[in-house]
Symmetry: C2
Subunit: 143 residues, 2 copies
């Protein structure tokens, strides 16, 4: 797990100013991947004390734009964030409890799939969401 100085370096390398909210958000997402914005706000406040929700929204947007975080938006859920970027992996979402797990992409680079008909689009990414029931939910439901 990266340390605070690692996060500072990441921010500098991305030409972003180093602030405590940014370090706290980076740290929170590294420690709790697939968290939604509200959870991240809670984790950040546990570490720093009062931080406005707006600051967290701003930070998440800046870090996502800089490529330090990735935003995922499964239908039916608020936006979630993860720190694993650049490897074009995919996700499995549980239809019952909403938990998300990572799925490695066999190809690794986007777009990892070719459309049967691209309709003239210049396709740069193929995003895959697998839907199913996680092991915890399937056992509790079938019992």
């Amino acid at each position: 797990m990266p340390t605070a100085s690692d996060f500072k370096r990441m921010l500098r390398d991305a030409s972003l100013r180093v602030t405590s909210p940014r370090i706290a958000v980076l740290s929170a997402v590294h420690q709790h991947p697939h968290s939604d914005t509200d959870s991240i706000i809670g984790i950040v406040r546990d570490g720093l004390g009062a931080v406005s929700h707006q600051a967290v929204y701003d930070v998440l947007r800046a870090l996502t734009a800089a490529g330090l975080l990735r935003r995922i938006e499964p239908p039916g859920s608020p936006a979630r964030y993860e720190a694993r970027v650049g490897d074009n992996h995919h996700h499995i979402v549980c239809r019952s409890c909403g938990v998300i797990a990572d799925v490695d992409c066999a190809v690794g680079e986007a777009p990892c799939l070719t459309a049967s008909d691209d309709h003239g689009f210049e396709i740069d990414e193929a995003e895959v969401i697998y839907w199913g029931i996680c092991s915890g939910c399937s056992t509790s439901t079938s019992s």
Copy 2:
């Protein structure tokens, strides 16, 4: 394009009551695939006069649950609906203007992809969204 009596039969076959809002919504989605809820409300009102937005939300939910419509939710866009159901096709979304096109699935049945690691999930669907720039946007941007 199906007629009003076709829509009535579809509703009866799905054990749903036949009402004018339902026929109008079915017709609207058949004629304007990938429309968002607000556009559908507008189209329905053009045909029927006053219809509450709540009625359209209720109808869309009932028709989706009955399998007559499919709901699609590209990140950054409100929910959209289409009448092409049952063939597990996918979508291309333009990053610039948001327009959506259908992409046939080579396999046809869900799940059409196998995850490299299913993490113990029982996967029933693999949803693919291709992201890119449509031909209209790429020509206007490059000029």
